[in-house]
């Protein structure tokens, strides 16, 4: 066995262990020198990226990979924790590490004058670890543990600007919401354990009967994870949090939020994959009911998100509401895909939904970084106080326009590619849904035209005379995301064929996920 093969064999563990070890080491490294600490955080994330890339290349070509902690082989009752990495998990892991690297690069300049940065980088690495763990794990209690890590570490990061009361308020709201949600998830795990005496996702999915208790647990899991993902009407924490956390942190919290969204995908498609086609009362198949529940909540999210964003004056909070609407688009695609399971357009909807996860991360992330750059140079949050920034901040303006058009789903940027797939497939399920989705996009364009006019165009305010362009590392981070937005907009098939289609087939093929573990016994 060569070194590379050994590395590949252990890479699922190393993907988690590397950022975790570096988070533990960082307080000690931070005592040496601030510069060393910054470089250390970036280098360790780079190493994690390498492991994720190695794992991705293997998983995409050879199918899912199972890693058992503490034993060489699977043995009869699955007592040990195991990681099961399939194309969907690795797709999310790629998004997570991408956002993390960009956030670290951005933080270099953005938080240069702050103190408490070694704690900041420690917690950042912990959130990244937890998101990766949620995405790769094959054990439901382990999922809960990682969910709690992300909850606690992100809560502390939201309160980073302790001098502002609002940041503390947002952090308190976040931790109340997420700990209540997480406790309900633990209750659902207890129900599974009581019925089947197993904690492994594949084993549970194999044994699941869809009894009343299973339905009960499904509702708890859907609602709790939906709240963590920012689904309306449980989305209120999201604008509060996104609006008050440092914008570099928002990228990291967003990766945790998307990991919760991934949790819903896993629950619906893999966990309940065997029983989705069971008939309930009135000969309604279960997947239709679940799908339409998700669609209804998604429509509410889109409408509330855009309508509330239209009247916001705080730029960061406005983008927070837009993020709610974008989450709604993902849920719309997933709901349509579940509701029409088996139809040819269900796969298209799923492709659209999964591609939209990536596009949402890129576009909303770009907008937050731009808003953070504006806050960095002007120290003002309200759109009423800023004007005419395009004269001094040329690059930022260009990046903002790219983000604006991408979020609003204007061709040829990346937002359009996924929304195109969503509109086309949802139209075949029900044309009204498609119309609402389009209306949401139009309102999104209106919102950002308002921001463009208020912040960047117009005359220069006397209070903003000394404004200069944002520092280089911030521009670099924004440039990366803008480059992604353009590139994926021009060559959508590149991403669709290499990552999204395998991810969608991995989700739909729950039998393979189960047989990787259960069949190996």
């Amino acid at each position: 066995m060569t070194f590379l093969e050994a590395l590949l064999q252990h890479s699922p563990a190393l993907v988690i262990a590397t950022p975790l070890l570096s988070a533990f080491l960082l307080p000690l490294v931070g005592r040496i020198n601030a510069k060393v600490r910054d470089v250390f955080a970036l280098v360790m994330l780079g190493v994690t990226c390498c492991f994720v890339g190695l794992l991705a290349s293997d998983v995409l070509s050879h199918g899912p990979r199972v890693y058992i902690f503490g034993a060489q082989n699977l043995n009869v009752p699955l007592v040990r924790i195991l990681f099961e990495v399939d194309s969907m998990g690795i797709f999310m892991a790629i998004i997570t590490v991408m956002l993390a690297v960009i956030a670290v690069i951005y933080s270099w300049s953005f938080l240069r004058r702050e103190d408490g940065l070694d704690k900041y980088y420690t917690l950042l690495l912990l959130v990244v670890t937890s998101a990766l763990g949620m995405e790769l794990t094959g054990d439901i209690f382990n999922f809960f543990v990682f969910l709690e890590i992300s909850c606690i570490a992100s809560c502390a990061l939201i309160a980073f600007w302790v001098a502002e009361g609002e940041a503390l308020e947002a952090a308190f709201k976040y931790i109340v919401i997420s700990s209540v949600g997480a406790l309900f998830i633990l209750f659902a795990i207890g129900i599974f354990y009581a019925q089947y005496n197993a904690l492994n996702i594949a084993t549970l999915a194999h044994l699941l009967q869809f009894t009343f208790l299973d339905k009960f647990a499904l509702v708890i899991l859907l609602v709790s994870l939906g709240m963590k993902a920012g689904l309306a009407p449980m989305h209120m924490w999201l604008p509060d949090t996104y609006g008050r956390a440092p914008p570099s942190i928002v990228l990291i919290i967003m990766s945790a939020t998307l990991a919760s969204f991934y949790g819903i995908l896993r629950v619906v498609f893999t966990f309940y994959g065997n029983v989705l086609t069971t008939s309930l009362r009135f000969s309604l198949p279960a997947h239709v009911v679940i799908g339409w529940i998700l669609i209804a909540l998604a429509i509410v999210s889109i409408l509330i998100g855009v309508i509330m964003a239209l009247v916001q004056t705080d730029l960061l909070r406005l983008i927070g509401y837009v993020a709610v609407a974008e989450i709604g688009y993902m849920f719309l695609a997933i709901g349509a895909s579940v509701a029409s399971l088996g139809a040819p357009y269900a796969t298209v909807a799923l492709h659209g939904g999964i591609l939209h996860i990536f596009n949402d991360a890129v576009d909303i992330g770009l907008l937050f970084l731009v808003a953070g750059a504006i806050y960095y140079v002007t120290k003002k949050r309200s759109l009423d106080d800023i004007s005419g920034l395009a004269r001094t901040m040329k690059f930022t303006t260009i990046f903002f326009m790219i983000g604006l058009l991408a979020v609003a789903g204007m061709p040829p940027l990346n937002g359009f590619t996924s929304k195109f797939l969503i509109y086309e497939s949802v139209y075949q399920l029900n044309p009204i849904l498609s119309i609402i989705a389009l209306l949401g996009s139009i309102l999104l364009l209106a919102i950002f035209v308002k921001v463009l006019y208020a912040a960047f165009l117009g005359s220069e305010l006397p209070a903003l005379k000394g404004v200069t362009e944002a520092p280089k590392s911030m521009l670099l981070a924004m440039g990366f995301l803008a480059g992604f937005a353009i590139f994926i907009g021009l060559f959508p098939n590149l991403l669709l064929d290499t990552l999204v289609k395998p991810a969608a087939s991995a989700l739909l093929d729950h039998a393979q996920y189960i047989s990787m573990v259960v069949g190996g016994l």
Binding site: F24, V79, Y120, N142, A153, C155, A156, F216
Partner: protein, 90 residues
């Protein structure tokens, strides 16, 4: 009573009814249903992990990765508390 209280009590009682109804479907106290995983652990603790304590064997060996996560949670809580109180110095 305002609208919020009425709505709150209503949804609260619905959730309460469903919770109460559900727990009666779980196996009775003291008679767990399937136990294959736990029986395996009890019978194999001593020769697989070499420890007499079944709970410690689960915590640190069979589900050791969870314990790593748990230690991480404590670590992040400490980092978070120190971050929030970072201005508190002598």
């Amino acid at each position: 009573m305002d609208n919020r209280t009425v709505a709150g009590i209503l949804v609260f009682s619905i959730v309460a009814v469903f919770f109460l109804f559900s727990v009666f479907l779980i196996h009775p106290f003291g008679e767990p249903g399937p136990v294959q995983m736990d029986d395996y652990i009890i019978t194999h603790t001593q020769n697989e992990t070499g420890t007499n304590n079944g709970v410690t064997a689960v915590v640190f060996d069979y589900r050791g990765f969870d314990t790593l996560g748990e230690a991480t949670i404590l670590f992040s809580a400490v980092a978070g508390v120190l971050l929030i109180f970072r201005k508190v110095r002598h």
